[in-house]
Amino acid sequence: MEFALSEEQRMLQDSVRRFLEQNAPLDKVRLAAANTHTVQRSLWAGASEMGIPGMLIPEDFGGMGLGFLDAAIVYEMVGRHVAPLPFVGTAVMAPLALMLAGSEVQQEKWLPKIAAGEIVVGVAVTEKIGIREDAGVKAQKGTLTGKSLFVIDWAEADLYIVADSDHGLHLVLPDAKGLSRRALNTIDKTRSVGELVFDQVAAEPLPRSSAEVVAAVIDAGRVMLAADTLGAGQMMIEKAVAYAGERKQFGRVIGSFQAVKHLCAEMAAALEASRSLVWYAAHALDEVPGDSRLMACHAKSHLSEVGRFVARTATEVHGGMGFTDLLGLHYWFKRIGFDRQLLGGPELVRLEAARLQGWAA
């Protein structure tokens, strides 16, 4: 019985943290945020040298063959540094879709490229969770028609994986005839999402697609977003505690006032328990299939709630400075806000959790 990160996992996490400390400091984040819809090639190349894009991809295809828990603790570090990396779509959801539903030919063609960090893959599944603005994609005779919103890792994608309205998944090339693309600017400038509009666009189906596969891809994405919030929230707490230890008012550091200390304690109490939930939800994706969907829902919705509380409270502890652009704290605030809504906000996700348990129609 061991509910803990292994020595290797701690080393992996440490090495990713060191990499991001050196290569994605706040001034780099600011530069990237000014160009949201471009891939930070040198940063992604550095991450590729560490094997990050191919973490989940089997070694036969040039990846590291690691599990979701490994991916989650890495993405926790990415969230900690609000790093502009196309991780959730390219390194997690896309490879998983290819591994679960792709043909051998498709796997051999695309997985090594993802693992090498040569390509970015956008993932269009939002309409499987909820349809807005009449979005949705119909598949007919090898073509796709319709539109998909909030496509993850949209910018500069070399390939898109698109869910249709009938549990099919398809590969679409960005220069395919009839495909038009529109960026969606969000509060979070460190990650790119966009819209894809399809007018009889040639698409290559992943032959083993199913409702189960689509759901598994979404589960994995949700756990990663929860891990991102965990990392971002942890950093916000550390920043708040450090700031409260320096800022003086009334002749005392504000961190010695119980009103401020208790805010920090409440954040830490909420986030620390959430850490175990993220670990388990990721572990369940690897090892406990019967539990994985429900736990992905719990991790996603719970971290959304805890994340919102931490994001606003840590900002308040910083007082007026937290509200300015000077400290850059808002990058974390916005990252957490983005994680909350993408792939289903907490109320929607909890309804799914109820359905999974037969508690809702």
Binding site: M1, E2, F3, A4, L5, S6, L69, I237, V241, A244, G245, R252, V253, G255, S256, Q258, K261, H262, C264, A265, E266, A268, A269, A270, E272, A273, S274, R275, S276, L277, W279, Y280, H283, E287, V288, M295, C297, H298, A299, S301, H302, E305, P346, E347, R350, L351, A353, A354, W359, A360, A361
Partner: protein
């Protein structure tokens, strides 16, 4: 990450199951209250001690089973007893707080005299710590013990003394050194509740029941030999004990049982023919609590892992009391809201659900948020010890 216990522990689990299969019909009905155990409960406790399912790691010389401490074995025992719905080892303040304290700091004579009958449920203890003027600031306690010949003479008042009306003995903090700084003037003494000069008055709480007592001491004479540790060291002796009390709180299995009862309630209660479970707002609150419960359950697994390796889990441990008490209270709060008007029924009213246990719990659990270190004290501990934030400037005394 490996959630399996492994073959060695699964073999141990089989042993526990075999014991339960063989003996479960000897178990007393229902879980005994914290007070005096029934003769059946005492007999059951003795059987458990003999087989290593109670007092497992306490040395044989003092009436225990004498096994080496192994947190996973303890966990398996707890899991199997819970799954079989058989009362597990007796739990009371004597066993969970006094016994570990005596084993750590008592004299050989004290250990020999008190540990065994306490473990067997033959001697019931109460805890004399809090006073009306000394709650969160326990070290300011004023009950005084003056020396007269070979005796301490004790005068003062204690409060929140659960089971005092049934207890044979009390472990009590008294001020023996009034001129010393507050933490250095306290002694830890043990004495019989039948000693002349002790008056116990039941303390009725908001639940309408007297779960606690007040205890008044008027010239209570206690032989000086009945001190545990040195004179003036009582605060440190007590802290050894408080460590064990904090460990008692926050039991994910108990919360899970309450959660299941809440699910059942939401499937049964209807308004205008609609089940509470089909009301999207109630259902959303339920799932929200389910996620929090999962977080605390896995946090518990993390603590278990740390304990088995002898590591300090830090924050993960410091948050347990605050988070668990709040979550438990929220479960009751949802149940009350689900019942609506029926949620305000009480006592022996018609239409009362679950014998009023949700209503009682909603009130009693507020007491748990306050007792054993208030939520605000917990937040001080989390921020100071867990996050390294500065301490509140202290007034000298």
């Amino acid at each position: 990450m490996d959630l399996a216990y492994g073959p060695q522990y699964e073999a141990f689990r089989d042993e526990v199951r075999a014991f339960l299969t063989k003996h479960k019909n000897q178990a007393p009905k229902g879980l005994g209250a914290a007070g005096r155990p029934s003769p059946e409960a005492c007999a059951w406790q003795q059987l458990l001690i003999e087989n290593g399912y109670a007092a497992r790691t306490i040395p044989k010389d003092y009436g225990g089973y004498g096994a080496k401490p192994d947190i996973l074995e303890s966990r398996i025992i707890a899991e199997e007893f819970s799954a079989t719905r058989v009362p597990s080892a007796l739990q009371n303040q004597g066993i969970s707080m006094l016994v570990p304290t005596l084993l750590e700091l008592g004299t050989e004579e004290q250990k020999k005299k008190w540990v065994k009958p306490t473990l067997r449920g033959e001697v019931v203890w109460c805890q004399g710590y809090s006073e009306p003027g000394s709650g969160s600031d326990l070290a300011s306690l004023q009950t005084k013990a003056t020396v007269d010949g070979d005796d301490f003479v004790i005068n003062g008042q204690k409060i929140w003394t659960s089971t005092a009306h049934e207890a044979d003995m009390i472990f009590c903090l008294v001020r023996t050194e009034p001129d010393k700084p507050k933490h250095e003037g306290i002694s830890y003494v043990i004495f019989s509740m039948k000693t002349p000069g002790i008056e116990v008055r039941p303390l009725t709480t908001m639940t309408g029941h007297a779960e606690f007592n007040e205890v008044f001491f008027t010239d209570v004479r206690v032989p000086k030999t009945q001190i545990v540790g040195q004179r003036g060291q009582g605060w440190f002796v007590a802290n050894a004990t408080l460590k064990y009390e904090r460990g008692m709180l926050g039991d994910p299995a108990a919360m899970e049982t309450r959660f299941q009862a809440l699910v059942d309630l939401m499937r049964e209660e209807t308004v205008d023919g609609q089940r509470a479970m089909d009301n999207p707002i109630f259902r959303d609150r339920l799932i929200r609590l389910q996620a929090e419960l999962a977080a605390m359950k896995f946090n518990g697994l993390r603590l278990l892992t740390s304990a088995s390796k002898g590591e300090d889990p830090g924050l993960a441990r410091l948050i347990v009391k605050l988070q668990s008490c709040e979550l438990t209270h929220q479960l009751s709060a949802l149940a009350i809201d689900v019942m609506g008007e029926f949620g305000i029924l009480y006592d022996d009213s018609p239409y009362l659900r679950s014998h009023g246990s949700w209503q009682w719990g909603y009130m009693f659990q507020l007491g748990l948020i306050i007792g054993g270190g208030t939520a605000q004290i917990q937040k001080n501990i989390i921020s100071e010890r867990g996050l390294g934030m500065p301490r509140e400037p202290k007034q000298a005394k």
